[in-house]
């Protein structure tokens, strides 16, 4: 029993750490990225998601997530005029990302320049009731950091004169959008009754593991009113989870095990196909 104690402790510490790192993200989400509603509004926003945990199994081919919500305390007249707009965002776990630029050196294409951006989401899906630029003034959207174009990309370390910063940021956004991990769907949020809405977001097969964040923003006639956030966990399950954990927590024994499987397979084949 004694031998298990340190292991248990490290597990607890790991869990605490996971909570601690998730907590600021949630807190920040509730503050809707720094932008506070201006003035007093009666409207409130409530949201829910079809599941709060998506498990990646061996035959995982992507999944659909439905975000639904309701506007409470709305103004009948404004609603009838379609002045309420919803923006939903599904933001993946954050990690540093390095953009590299190739250049031709002696006829060969070589990575020459690089820039690392601090804690950017690994996936990002934006769904809105209409084109984001028609929902609110572009300046407000930019200040709130909504959308791939306004995502905060802060380079780490020394960036020289900074003239190539835009170039690397543009490349980052373009590549992430082309590979489908950053996407936008204007019209992806639909009102199903006067004040109820839903948004369907497709999670691709290569959706990153970890804690994702679902955010919803309510705008009234071009003004930000309220925001809500919910966490979504994407976890590997069963064998996949066990393998990943073993590879990272017991890497030596994992390696030995990998070799053992190879030995058994190789040996087994030569016994099976022995022709004498």
């Amino acid at each position: 029993m004694r031998a298990f104690a340190p292991k248990l402790r490290s597990l607890c510490a790991g869990l605490l750490l996971a909570f601690a790192s998730a907590a600021p993200a949630l807190a920040q989400a509730d503050g809707s990225g720094g932008a506070q509603p201006s003035g007093d509004f009666t409207e409130q926003l409530e949201i829910g998601i079809s599941t709060d945990e998506i498990s990646i199994t061996s035959d995982f081919r992507g999944a659909d997530l439905t975000i639904f919500g309701a506007i409470e305390g709305f103004d009948e007249r404004l609603l009838a005029q379609g002045k309420y707009n919803i923006v939903t965002v599904l933001e993946g776990p954050k990690d540093n990302a390095t953009v590299r630029k190739k250049e031709r050196v002696f006829g060969i294409w070589v990575n020459r320049y690089s820039m690392t951006f601090e804690l950017v989401p690994e996936s990002y899906s934006l769904a809105t009731t209409r084109d984001i630029n028609q929902i609110a003034p572009p300046q407000d959207i930019a200040n709130m950091g909504i959308g791939v174009d306004h995502m905060r990309l802060i380079p780490t370390g020394f960036v020289g004169n900074g003239s190539n910063l835009t170039e690397f940021r543009d490349a980052f956004r373009r590549i992430r959008e082309q590979s489908g991990v950053y996407e936008r769907d204007p019209g992806g949020v639909q009102f199903i009754s006067s004040s109820l809405f839903k948004a369907s977001i497709r999670l691709p097969a290569d959706v990153p593991n970890g804690i994702h964040l679902v955010r919803a923003y309510l705008f009234r006639d071009g003004t930000f009113v309220a925001a809500k956030a919910l966490p979504l966990r994407v976890v590997k399950t069963g064998l996949e989870e066990a393998i990943t954990r073993a590879a990272h927590e017991q890497p030596f024994f994992y390696g030995v095990f990998a070799v053992l499987i190879a030995v058994i397979t190789g040996w087994g084949a030569s016994l099976l196909f022995r022709r004498d």
Partner: protein, 308 residues
Amino acid sequence: MTVYLPIAELSVNILVILGMGAAVGFLSGMFGVGGGFLITPLLIFYNIPPVVAVATGANQVVASSISGAITHFRRGTIDVKLGSVLLVGGLIGATIGVWIFSMLRRIGQLDLVISLLYVVLLGVVGALMLAESLRAMRKASKNQPVALKRPGQHNWVHRLPFKVRFKKSKIYLSIIPVIALGMGIGVLTSVMGVGGGFIMVPAMIYLLRIPTNVVVGTSLFQIIFVSAYAVIVQASTNYTVDIVLAFILMVAGVIGAQYGVRVGQKLRGEQLRALLALLVLAVGIRLAIDLVLPPADIYSVVSTGVGY
């Protein structure tokens, strides 16, 4: 039919992987090589991250070299003493190799170095083999006896100190070039995910003048241990061995190899070598094209983790 690879973190078509493993297994059985030099580039062509492809390729080499070595062990064509000396060098080399691998990965030049090494090695080895086998074929067609160029003459290698007698190979040889050869190929095992048989065998024959009958068995014998070691070290330092991917490749590979061996026995030696040379060159050229052609996008993005 898709299967999720937990370490590569992507879903792949299991039939493609099985087909790849079987095809490479077939070729490795036919030509008596480990197949690591084919499996790693193929996995990279199939969008498996090069870091995972290299480490997992080494794992599949363990399986294929074991089933090959067992056959040679039964026939008694393994020089264990020579293999052990090679192994000492191999383990040192593999350790250095994993260190180089981690360093290159950190500075973002790993993919380039892997491709460059493949292009250079496959190009040189393929060209040499093709030239040699064409010469042999021309001689055979003129009904001249095919003289394998392994006469008793000595070269500079045989003037080095620390000589040891290897009974099985009937050779009296300095251990310096043997350890150096093992070391060089150990580095390649870690960096490229190859067993290195396609370099080891010619080097042992032409450079060290070891009798051909023990060369393949001995090289396989030491490849088992060096690649097993590389797998364990890669798993411990880079966490890039994908056991699911490796297992699918192995199973398909060892079965494919059995059929390859049968076909290989029906072909003539020089024809076999010429075919292998063409194959090696083709893979090398395919990789070279990727390096020289302007890339579709000169930018690339990788998640580097907060730890870096």
